[in-house]
Each structure stands twice: as C-alpha cells, then as structure tokens.
C-alpha cells in the first residue's frame, strides 16, 4: 500500500530570536546557548489512503506542529516526508504544486481563518482559480457545489464571514479546503471552538466527506472522545514524541502506555453516576527542559529506574500497534 503521507523520524525545533543581550554577548565572543524547543523529537507516522488518523495530546506535545509538517506548512529540520511514495525533492515544480495542494488544513478558529473583508464566494473561489483548477466562468458553479457539499446553500455566496455563526464559518473553512480537491484534510482542533451541538454536526460532516470522497483525514485534538468517535487509528503524543499508536478501539479499550491510560481515565465521560478522577499527579514539564529518559517518567505511576535514564524505543506489540515504554521491553520489566 502506498501511503498518502509518510513521515519518518521527523525533528522540528523552534528557537527564539536572539535578543539584544545575546547578540552583544556573541559580539564579545561569549557563546550563549540558544533556547530551543524540540517540538518534534523523532516522530514517524503514516497517513494511509482514506483513513482517519487521530492525533491526541495535551498542550505543548507537538500535535499541531506535526499537523503543520504533514501539511507542508513547515519543513522539518531532520527526517523525511514522502507524499504517495515520493519526496518533494524528486518532483518538478508542477508536480510539487499538485502534491502541496493535495493536503489542506482546516484550522481551529473559524473567526480568525477567514478573511473578514471577502465574500464567501471569493474565500472559497480564490485558490481553485489561482491554481487554474477551474475556469472563471465555471467558478460560481464550483463554489456552489462546494457549499452544497458542506451543507450550506448558494444563499451564502455573497455573504461576509461576520454574517455567519461559528458552525457556518467552520463549514466555509471546510468548503475552502475542498475547493482544490485535496487528498488529505488536516484538521487541527477543527471542532474545539464549537458548541457541542454544532460540533456534532461538523463531526458528522467530516465522516460523510471521508466516506463520499475517499479522502484521508488527520484529526488533531486534545479531546480524546472526539478523536475516538471519528478515527480509524489514533496516535498519542507527549512532549514531542509519539508514545503509542493503535486502532481507535485498541487505544480506547486497552491503552498500553501509562500516559494513554491516564488520559483516558481523566477524560470527562458522560455518566449517570458520580466518579472520581486523577490518576496522575504533577504538571506538564516545560517543553524547553523536557525530562531525561522517558519524558513521562516524572508523572508516571509505573516509572522505574531505567525510565529516568533511557529514552524508550518504539516497539511493535501487535501488528499495527506500537508503544514507546520500557514496561513493554520484556527484559526490563522489574521483578
């Protein structure tokens, strides 16, 4: 099977711009270590054709950065990316454009991601026109078709974003992405800003688009219940690394990594009975100074000596399922 997108050992660092003092120190021949955040620390993941891949994790885990790298909005510092089996370097300009258009992003904030001065017609129609995907005379028909696909009507063509509700705006954002016939939609917290009833409508729309158009979805969210509902497979991230990958059912019903277990135990669940929370204590460590060894060892109820020292390797425990935890390296399980 050729993967839609395949990422191998991706590393992405962000550094702060050197301040005046740092620059002065540099001129005086002092070296100042630049403050670096390792947003992605050797992340490998495949997006299969037509699948919904969920990516979950708490703030600062690198899930949005991974989404931006997969979408081609950021280039990785290390590691390789292939689109349908080919790297961008192998492609000529035309092909590269096609590949880049094939991944589209849907952002979290439907208020910030639409140009407030443009009519919906222009917002959705710009990209396909600029990239020569439709003729100008067919544009209105194309935009209307896109609106219909996301559950809106041609009545919206000449409206401005401020005339729409949050849910309608998010639909316009999706229509804009669909207008260039993408193969992958990367949804970064695309339903997090919406009310529950509207969120349910948009989730339903995503599922329908995947079924009808056969596109892949990379669905990034902090909300495990949302990801679980939509995803075929789920990757769980913690401080720049993927700690576990499995099918939605495996992850939800039998999580392997202690962090995944905690995430599921702590997630609010609808219930008719009272329940207690809090299986893990402590704060998320700063991404500027991640803990040694396994980054989760400072909060992990099952941590032992080795977790402090060595970064756990990613090992396959079942076909299609990987986990990065010393507990699953048989030889190291403490007696």
């Amino acid at each position: 099977m050729t993967m839609q997108i395949s990422a191998t050992a991706i590393v992405k660092r962000y550094g702060s711009q050197p301040g005046p003092l740092t620059r002065l120190a540099g001129r005086l021949n002092f070296t100042v270590e630049p403050k670096l955040v390792q947003a992605l620390n050797g992340v490998s993941i495949d997006v299969r054709p037509g699948e919904v891949l969920g990516i979950v994790g708490e703030s600062g885990c690198g899930k949005s950065t991974l989404g931006r790298v997969l979408a081609g909005l950021e280039s990785p510092d290390e590691g390789s990316l292939t689109y349908e089996g080919r790297t961008l370097a192998e492609l000529d300009r035309r092909e590269r454009k096609t590949v880049q258009l094939a991944s589209q992003v849907i952002f979290q904030d439907p208020w910030a991601s639409l140009n407030p001065r443009w009519r919906i017609r222009q917002i959705i129609g710009e990209a396909p026109l600029v990239h020569g995907l439709v003729e100008r005379r067919d544009l209105a028909r194309h935009v209307t078709a896109m609106l219909t696909q996301v559950g809106l009507t041609e009545d919206y063509l000449d409206r401005f974003p401020h005339e729409l509700s949050g849910g309608q705006r998010q639909r316009v954002g999706i229509a804009r992405a669909l207008a260039v016939s993408p193969r992958t939609l990367i949804c970064d917290e695309s339903v997090s800003a919406l009310d529950v009833s509207i969120q349910a409508q948009i989730l339903r729309l995503f599922r329908r688009l995947r079924n009808d158009l056969g596109i892949s979805l990379v669905f990034i969210s902090h909300d495990l219940s949302v990801v679980h509902n939509l995803s075929d497979r789920i990757a769980v991230m913690y401080l720049g690394r993927i700690v576990e990958i499995g099918t939605a059912q495996q992850i939800y019903e039998a999580p392997s990594h202690p962090y995944t277990q905690a995430l599921i135990a702590d997630a609010p669940r609808l219930s008719t009975q009272r329940r207690s929370f809090s299986v893990i204590r402590g704060e998320l460590p700063s991404p500027y100074a991640p803990p040694s060894g396994c980054a989760f060892h400072t909060r992990c109820p099952k941590a032992f000596e080795r977790c402090r020292l060595d970064v756990p390797a990613t090992i396959a425990t079942e076909p299609g399922r990987t986990v990065a935890c010393h507990l699953y390296e048989e030889a190291t399980i403490p007696a």
Binding site: R207, H228, S278
Partner: protein, 331 residues
Amino acid sequence: MSEPDPILVVSDLNVSLASGKRMTPILREVSFALRPGEILGIVGESGSGKSLTASAIMGLLEPPVRIVSGAVAFKGRDLAALDEKAVRAIRGNEIAMVFQDPAMSLNPLLRIETQMVESIVAHDRGCSRHAARERARAALETVGVPAAAKRLRAYPHELSGGMRQRVSIAIAMLHSPAVIIADEPTTALDVTIQAQILDEMTQLCRKNGTALIWISHDLSLLSSFADRICVMYAGRVIESGPCGEVIGAPRHPYSRGLILSVPAMARAGKDIEPIPGYPPRVGMVPSGCAFRPRCHRASPACAVQPPLQTVASQQSAACFHPFDDKLQVPA
C-alpha cells in the same frame, strides 16, 4: 431525613439589555435553588445565558445590562435589592467566584502573596499581615500548590495555567464562603490538570459544606460530579433535576439532543445524532418555545412559552411534549 433549606434561591430572574428605549431580554424567568453543600451544574451552549446568570447573582452586571425583575435571595436576603456596600460585604466573603481565565482574575503586577493578603485583610480588618500571610500559605496548600511559601512570592506569569487556577480557587476559598460560583474553571486547562483541579475542588467543597455552582458547556464533565443539573437554552432554564435523571432520562428535546451530541453517545465509528440548525442569537430568539424551530416534536402549541413544570419527582422541564423514556448512557 428532611432536606436543609436552600441557601441561595434565584426566582423568576429577568435580565435585559437596554438599547435606547428597547429592552432585549437576555435572561428569562431563571429560577433555581441551591442547598448547603450541594453541587449544581449549569450547562448550556454559548449565548444560553449561563455566565450571565452567575454575574447577576454576584451583582456584577454593568449597564446597559440590568435585572428587570426577580430576586436573588441569599440566606433570605434579596441581593438584588441591597446597596453596593452591603453586596460587597457578601461578595468574595460569603459568595465567591472562580473564573475561566485565571490570567484575568489575578493582577499581573502583584505577587500572589500581595493579592491574597489584600483579600484577607479587606474582609477581616482585625487580621495582622503576618497572620494573613500564614493563612494565605495554608490556603495554597489545601488546593494542592506545592512549595506554597515559595509560590507566594511569585508573580502570576511565573506560574503555569493549572497553578494559576489553583491560586484563584485558593483566593475564592479564603473566607470559607457558603457558596462558590465557578464559571468554566477548567475549560482552559489540559485534561490531566482539569481532573486534578476538579477532584481537589469538589472534595474541599464537600468537606467544608460549601455549595458550588459549576457552569460549563461540557455535560460529560458535569455528569461526573454534579448533584443536580440545570440546562439552559436561549436565556431560560429548560430542564433541571438530579444529575442521574437529567442525563439518563432527559425530558426536554434540547437536553436530549445535547446528550446525544456528546461523541461518546455514538458508538465509535458511528454517526453522532446532531441537533439540526443553530442556536438563536441574542435579540433574535423565536417567540414561544425558543427551541421550536430546531425541534422535531414541535407542534402549534409550542408557539406559547411552555412553563418549567414538574415532570417527575424533583425533575422539571419546560416542554409541552416531553420525552418519558430512558437513554442508554454507556457506563
């Protein structure tokens, strides 16, 4: 065992937005009662009036928004009728509030210690600064702030979001209030931190007998710890009752739709049942039952506002066509 008398009774509260001569109602006939030590969850989507209800109780409404009619009775005294000075003696002291964004409720220019000591001395003039500092440290410890003495010297920006929220909870609890109103206090936090804070806060309230109003858009969250739940829609309480009943057997079609919209209610890989349409905007609320245009049970009768009436013991709903069957809620 008879139930204790309610400590806070909101009755027929109407709040409007005045623009010129026009009054746009934004809260209508909101009524509920809170008993000592009880945890009441208020759930609703944006614009449902849940936060506004909190502001109205706290006397924090600013013109042009004002209370048109109704009463907020705390220990038998109508807060809406008291003057500002009398309200101030109660606010922060007997009724405290925790907001969603601790960055907004803490002063960024003052050390945590200064803010806490100030709050203690403001309500307890006899307290020396030294004793106040000691109380502040103890208060931080009870909400799970490690190295409390050190954190007292910190400025808000030096703390993480979770720690900042703990500080504002500690401030709210300083005077052992009878009621705490928490407006989405954990919404901005990560799941694992949310769980910690929820756990600590509800345990403290139960231990001290503090009544808690927890406002949230997240029904799943509320369902795990609230005693009773009020569901709001377009400025009105449309259903209220014991948590288990409202979640397990919602009567109002909107409550039911809200519960069925929770992703966990659909089996993985299955479609969620969304409510069609969008909630009305303020000032454009339909006449009669505001949910009527989105409701598949609506009939011509719904052109008149249905009253909030008892549908089962302790459970009431504002609907002419309430459901009476149970929902299958996964354990």
